[in-house]
């Protein structure tokens, strides 16, 4: 880890430990925006780790941002920190300035397309994006869209645009963890800024899947820590349940999945810094998703009935895992995409590709 990565990791962990309490998450689930937490993150330079220092960011790389995103997942921080980080990076890719305040990204589904059309000297955005994270809570939405007359590039002739959230018609919805997932309809919404970028048309789904995989890796760490702690504290038959081999082996299995999801996610961020994240992101989303289902199952089994109550905090991690594994593309979708690429390249390329740097 770089010095910056370590600094960001220490800062964000301290801040989450202090501010992301059970009460805060519960109030966010009732729709209260955690303003104090957001301001602390912004003042700590944690919302824009990839933006250059001259533009008010931390001037880091994805490998540094990884620690922040993972911590946000581990602590179930109820705000669009991962989305803001991706949004800031997308704006940077198009050479656009990054505004203050929380940001989100759209469209998150591989098949959704938004379109920018010229209007005088500016651009207007058309189309609808479903289940946009924190769509109604943010100040701005950063979109990757097809641009009228944009010159196709290696990335696909896309444009990045910054649109005020107020310019979209919002239909509110939420995921299993009661995080806002709102549909935004852009019917000629004016872009505050827009510029071409060398990004694939599904760049939001791709980088969204990357950050979700790291958030899942963090939530899985939380499951393991909570489960081990509970197994050493809870007594039945006169001894801690963690003394029983059946429990020990399930937690060992969980530890393996946590480790695998963690390294897969980190690998995706490192690959993003090298400019070739597509296959590692697919693998990370698949691996974290597999671990999510199994890990949530083990954690709940170990916790018994108390873990099934709203009063206990286990569900802050498990409900997020159940939603996050499906957001920005499910395991099956990413596995198919990865499998098609592997098959098209053929068996003899598999090992050389796996070991390529």
């Amino acid at each position: 880890m770089s010095d910056l990565g370590r600094l960001l990791s220490d800062t964000v962990t301290r801040l989450f430990n202090d501010l992301v309490t059970k009460e805060l998450i519960e109030s966010a689930e009732k729709g209260v925006w955690p303003d104090k937490l957001w301001r602390a993150l912004e003042e700590g330079g944690l919302t824009l780790p990839l933006v250059s220092e001259s533009s008010g960011g931390a001037g880091g790389v994805w490998a540094d941002a990884h620690t922040v995103v993972r911590a946000a997942g581990k602590h179930a921080a109820p705000l669009p920190l991962a989305e803001t980080i991706v949004a800031g990076w997308l704006l940077g890719q198009a050479g656009l300035d990054v505004p203050l305040g929380p940001l989100t990204i759209a469209p998150g589904h591989r098949d959704e397309r938004l379109r920018l059309e010229r209007a005088g000297s500016g651009w207007r955005l058309h189309g609808t994006a479903a289940r946009v994270p924190w769509g109604a809570a943010v100040g701005h939405v950063v979109v990757v869209a097809e641009g009228e007359g944009a010159t196709p590039t290696a990335g696909g002739g896309t444009m990045v645009a910054l649109v005020a959230r107020g310019a979209a018609a919002v239909t509110a919805d939420r995921n299993l963890a009661l995080e806002p997932r709102d549909t935004l309809a852009f019917d000629g919404a004016p872009a505050e800024a827009a510029a071409p970028a060398r990004l694939a048309a599904d760049a939001v789904a791709l980088y969204g899947a990357m950050v979700r995989s790291a958030q899942m890796a963090g939530a899985l760490e939380s499951l393991l820590e909570q489960s081990v702690r509970y197994a050493t504290e809870r007594k039945q038959f006169g001894r801690p349940i963690g003394n029983f081999q059946a429990i020990q082996h399930n937690l060992a299995l969980l530890a393996g999945h946590v480790a695998a999801a963690g390294i897969a996610a980190e690998q995706a961020f490192v690959a993003a810094d090298r400019g070739e994240p597509r296959l590692p992101v697919a693998a990370a989303k698949v691996r974290a998703g597999e671990a999510a289902g199994l890990g949530a199952g083990i954690a709940h089994q170990v916790h018994g009935a108390i873990g099934f109550t709203y009063e206990h905090s286990l569900h802050f991690a498990t409900r997020r895992l159940w939603s996050w594994r499906a957001e920005f593309g499910s395991e099956s979708q990413w596995a198919q995409a990865l499998g098609r690429t592997v098959a098209a390249r053929g068996a003899e390329r598999l090992w050389p590709d796996l070991t390529a740097r």
Binding site: L251, A260, A264, A335
Partner: protein
């Protein structure tokens, strides 16, 4: 408790340059070997291949030059191993000698033992077996009963070892014997020995595996004399030495690549434009390979840095063997395909071989249950 930490590792440039050399060698020596033969991997016993590898200087790559080694890094050895395994090279003859016996002698052996045994291992001419398990001692290894009693400048050994792979075609074994019975302290009084398998009193009988192959043996010791200078390490230090040896062999690429020949045959079989179900299966298999390689490499990096990643290594072996064991199951679930021995497609034959082999993946070198116990201890549960 601590969540195990796996740090991502990059291989150094010299290791990547070495990879190209190894690939060129394998293209030349392996040719168009059928998938089902590649599936044997380090189960394949081929002295000619071992000698060719030895002639390149690729056995004992990290060992001191004075014993014939190359003094190259553990990460270069890692690259060599993963390339051999990915290609399904028949590395079985020298496998144990290079992976366990030689390193054991380097750590605990005498100078005379190193000078005598290591150069022949390096040449690919000297093969070793491991004498640990006994008829009544499997996972509970410390309960072994084969006795080595002191006598006239050495020891006299009586007892029986089982599951001794390749004893019938190896010159030596490194065996764990009981040199003292310490009441209620079964981990004490154990010692390791270098045994010449042609010694009088050694009887080697085949144990045929479920598929009809002979690699296991029962090795009976009846008043076998082992000279004192063939003891490895201190008398009574056997348990400490053996657990070190087992820890070092847990996290290598052989713990997740055992079914790669089947994965490659499957990709060939489904073709360049697979249906969505087949694409998903291939994608999930590729995901596990990518992830396990990073985990295994991470432990290799810790070993190279002189750290002690025993717990992480146990995690890699548990996750890795579970994966390699699952591959035949995944192929069965995907397609209407009968596993075969003598007929059928490459995929059918490879499936036929590996489905019969897979139960051993989570047994050899320490069972899944033993590993999960080690991991649970690392989590603070034991």
């Amino acid at each position: 408790m601590s969540v195990f930490h796996f740090e991502l590792r990059d291989l150094p440039p010299e290791a990547e340059a070495f990879r190209d050399e190894v690939r060129a060698f394998l293209r030349e020596t392996m040719g168009t070997r059928a998938p089902v033969r590649r599936a044997r991997s380090w189960g394949g016993f081929d002295p000619e291949f071992s000698k060719r590898l030895g002639a390149r200087g690729w056995i004992g790559l990290t060992w001191p030059k004075r014993y014939g080694g190359q003094e190259r890094s553990f990460l270069e050895r890692y690259v060599l191993l993963e390339e051999l395994l990915a290609a399904g090279a028949p590395a079985g003859a020298h496998w144990v000698a290079e992976r366990q016996s030689g390193p054991l002698l380097l750590r605990f052996g005498t100078e005379a033992q190193r000078e005598r045994f290591l150069p022949a291992i390096v040449r690919g001419e000297s093969y070793f077996a491991i004498g640990m398990s006994e008829p009544d001692s499997g996972s509970d290894l410390a309960s072994i009963r084969t006795r080595a009693m002191r006598k006239d400048g050495g020891y006299v050994v009586n007892g029986t070892k089982v599951w001794t792979s390749n004893a019938h075609r190896s010159q030596h074994a490194i065996a764990l014997f009981r040199t003292a019975v310490v009441p209620d302290k079964k981990h004490e009084g154990l010692s390791q020995f270098l045994v010449d398998l042609r010694s009088p009193g050694v009887t080697i009988r085949p144990i045929i595996d479920l598929a009809g192959s002979h690699h296991f043996n029962e090795v009976v010791f009846q008043d076998v004399f082992v000279p004192e200078d063939m003891r490895v390490g201190g008398e009574g230090d056997g348990w400490k030495q053996v657990t070190t040896e087992l820890a070092f062999e847990r996290s290598g690429p052989e713990r997740y690549l055992s079914s790669i020949a089947l994965i490659l045959a499957l990709i060939d079989h489904v073709g360049a434009d697979p249906d969505p179900r087949a694409a998903e299966v291939v994608g999930r298999l590729a995901t596990q390979l990518m992830t396990l390689r990073q985990m295994s490499l991470s432990v290799a990096g810790m070993l190279q840095a002189g750290q002690n990643p025993n717990l992480e290594a146990a995690v890699v072996k548990d996750v890795g063997t579970t994966f390699e064991q699952s591959v035949p199951e995944v192929v069965h679930a995907l397609m209407d395909l009968e596993p075969t021995i003598d007929s059928g497609s490459d995929l059918q034959q490879t499936l036929g071989y590996l489905v019969q082999r897979a139960p051993s993946f989570s047994l050899r070198g320490g069972t899944r249950e033993v590993l999960r116990g080690i991991i649970a201890r690392g989590l603070g549960l034991r």
